[in-house]
Amino acid sequence: MEVSKKLSAYLTKLNTIRTTAIKSVKSESPTVKTFTLEDDICSKANPGQFLMLRIPGIDEIPLSILNAGEGQVQFSVKAVGDATRHLHNLTTGDLLGLRGPFGTSFTETRGRVLLIGGGTGTAPLLFLAKRLAAKVDRLSFVIGAKTKNELLYLTELDAVCTDESAIATTEDGSYGLQCLATEPLEKLVDKQKFNMIYTCGPEKMVKSIFNFAEKRKIAMEASLERLIRCGIGLCGSCMIGKYRVCRDGPVFTMARLSEVKDELGMSKLGFDGSRIEV
């Protein structure tokens, strides 16, 4: 009772929209920009959590948190549709609405960890890597993109990774290895035992990493995406199995991934609540 009352107050504050001016915008790639906003509540987020961003008059969308601290929060946005394209047209001083942070975060582990990020899915992993860097024995980070100029966060990655622990892959071979981000996996895992694989990215990628981790019995956590409307576990738009991606996720443990593996990479709910292909 006491706990739930506290949660309720917590949620009210978290879930109240704060409208604030963009502090700065940075181009990460031709299609991805990183925004910095001031927000005390989101600045306390943990890696894996997401926020709901309102683009006034347009839409409100879920975005992973790329960085949080000192009263600020950052997120990266890939222009894929109406809302994200509008967002790319905004600049310092323009108003945005924030609520959150929401959802589960990655479990911090020790030992050797492997992070595999695809596209903007790299964002929460970079946030996690910064937290883990000083604490783990080895941190290997694989990122992938179609082509060189879509690879994100190369500089930041170098900063958190030691020697050859950062591996970039491109489908066209214009940078790093020419392969999918999942390919180096087998080699890395053959070389040494990893205590945990963290991943976020296209769901087909997550699914194939899950299959691999299950076969090789390596612990894993993945951040998933579904249609997010309310963001607070109420409307049911984001179901995967019996779980709500917005509240029971977005970060799923191995055990939970197993429970939903029939839907993983297969089906999700569309805007009209019908089942569609992922």
Binding site: L7, I17, D59, C230, C235, G270, D272
Partner: protein, 307 residues
């Protein structure tokens, strides 16, 4: 939770306990219904479904208010044909009654969806004649005794299953509408849907919901909902009532029972308290009944009217 103290019977539906999932909350998939059942709900009401698919409004569709939420999701639903598979699956995994919430733009549409829902396994249908934010349906029907009568009559003559009518609080006299529904054949009433409301972002100076207006739910509306249940029970003491609006704990549930509800539906509290809220309510109600020496929750329904 399942004990003899808590079982209730509403319009022929047997509920193991008097708490139900309200429509529109975790309301799409059989798996989510199953999870809510496992969390302790005594019945499930689905998201409102119509004849054709609707994608709903664009976000923001839910806004936090000081003591509740304002929503205008816009009745996104796959349409009854597409939804039939999910309903059949849901029916196959659920032990508790499955109530399908139905909306339409005409009485024929309501009847059509109700029939298909019944065929897919619905144990009852709930008519959403009270959604405050979609044009030509919902409360535009539920605010008008004549239209309401037509819809209820059409559905009643089309399906054999119990028909529950969900009333809107956005009316001058809810009793008038409740009476119209019952006269037209409603087997039970759900009281209430959300209260029309609006929130403005003072920084951007515009309404926050993409639909501008929405419906207020949660603790804020509980005293309004209790009043509506009290009014309806006073006028229609024989009609079973699902109380709905702001139920968050066992005390809230008891207020509804004492006002005249045979069971409660829970929506917004699921966001604030998680689905475990069902189990918590049932535990609290059980303890109360034992402490006060009642043999069944049925004994306290409407008791506050004796005062």
């Amino acid at each position: 939770m399942n004990n003899n103290l808590l079982t209730v019977n509403i319009a022929g539906l047997k509920l193991q306990n008097p708490t139900a999932l309200a429509s529109g909350i975790l309301g799409y998939t059989g798996d989510s219904f199953k999870f809510v059942e496992e969390s302790g709900a005594g019945a499930i009401v689905t998201k409102s479904v119509g004849v054709s698919p609707r994608v709903g409004y664009s976000n923001p569709t839910v806004v936090q208010a000081k003591s509740g939420l304002i929503n205008a999701v816009g009745l996104p639903n796959p349409g009854i044909n597409e939804y039939t598979e999910e309903l059949k699956y849901a029916k196959s995994v659920l032990k508790v009654p499955l109530i399908v919430s139905v909306f339409g733009y005409t009485s024929e549409e309501y009847a059509l969806v109700a029939v298909k829902a019944a065929e897919a396994g619905a144990d009852a249908v709930e008519l959403n004649v009270s959604c405050p934010h979609v044009k030509y349906t919902g409360s535009e029907i539920g605010q008008n005794p004549k239209l309401l009568t037509d819809v209820v009559c059409a559905v009643k003559s089309a399906v054999q299953k119990p028909v529950i009518v969900k009333l809107s609080p956005n009316v001058t006299d809810i009793v008038e509408l409740g009476k119209a529904a019952v006269k037209a054949g409603a087997d039970a009433l759900t009281v209430i849907n959300t209260v029309r409301a609006l929130a403005i972002d003072v920084e951007t100076q515009e309404p926050i919901l993409s639909n501008v207006r929405g419906g207020l739910s949660g603790p804020a509306i509980k005293p309004i909902a209790v009043r509506c249940v009290y009014d309806i029970f006073e006028a229609l003491p024989k009609t079973p009532i699902f109380g709905c609006g702001g139920v968050s704990d066992w005390r809230d549930a008891l207020e509804f029972f004492l006002a005249g509800a045979s069971a409660v539906q829970v929506g917004t509290a699921i966001a604030f308290e998680e689905p475990a809220v069902f189990e918590a309510i049932n535990k609290g109600v059980t303890a109360y009944l034992k402490r006060k020496g009642y043999g069944s929750v049925k004994e306290i329904v409407g008791l506050s009217h004796q005062a």
